[in-house]
Symmetry: C2
Subunit: 152 residues, 2 copies
């Protein structure tokens, strides 16, 4: 950003929800990415590990669907996770197109770790809000997102 100091951001801009969202998301993404990076973590790793933990093993394509990561990008994510022994990738004997991805013990431990890191980072992200306000914020975001997800 470069609009520090004499903040002359026009009102029209400052008031638009779309702009508030992009700006805040930019900061939020930076905060989370940097926070995770400090622990050699990435958002995508977290997403995949969480998906494996909550819904069990699955093919890359299925992980894709669960996590919203494109299957073209999933290749690299799974590779990185496998390199770190957080996940096992085994060809599916029943369907030779598929790899079955399974979370490892290290993977579960790692997920717990990332969860703690994310808790802290979100505390920082939502710092100015009270507990009630945080809930409200989440609720509003969820309703909006749900609305635009169904509509898509």
């Amino acid at each position: 950003m470069s609009d520090d100091g004499a903040r002359k951001t026009p009102d029209r801009l400052r008031r638009r929800a779309s702009r508030l969202l992009s700006q805040l998301t930019m900061r939020s993404d930076r905060l989370i990415n940097e926070g995770l990076a400090r622990a050699d973590g990435r958002k995508w790793h977290y997403a995949v590990l969480a998906s494996l933990q909550e819904y069990g093993p699955g093919s890359q394509a299925e992980l894709s669907r669960r996590s919203g990561i494109y299957r073209s990008d999933m290749v690299g994510v799974v590779k990185e996770l496998a390199e770190r022994d957080l996940v096992e990738r085994v060809p599916d004997p029943d369907d030779r197109r598929r790899n079955v991805i399974t979370i490892s013990v290290r993977g579960r431990r790692r997920l717990r770790h990332l969860d703690r890191i994310l808790d802290d980072l979100h505390d920082e992200l939502l710092a100015p809000l009270s507990t009630a306000e945080r809930d409200q914020f989440l609720q509003l975001l969820t309703r909006l997102l749900d609305h635009h997800t169904r509509a898509s």
Copy 2:
């Protein structure tokens, strides 16, 4: 996105404010960009025109600071606006490093037009929320953004 149908998005993911923000912002950006594109408009055009309207003429560097657009990107934006006769770009006689950018009559009309378009698009974006909830949402976003802007 690709997580339609059987929504198996893990809870951990669905609940994180950071993720809600990115996802919603992605939809929001698409909505706004496509809406503006239908009228041959762009976010950046709006930002610059709004800044000129509210604070008067300025150099490209100053517009940069007002709008948060990088001065390297401002070059192209001003060029596009000038091509459409929405602004005038004149060398500053008092400081030969500068161009003075001024909004034209067409520019003002265009800004009003874009404002109407954006009003509609934001109505769509915030559709599921009541008026009170929209205010609250904006207020929460603003507080969060302010907090993370000062801290930067």
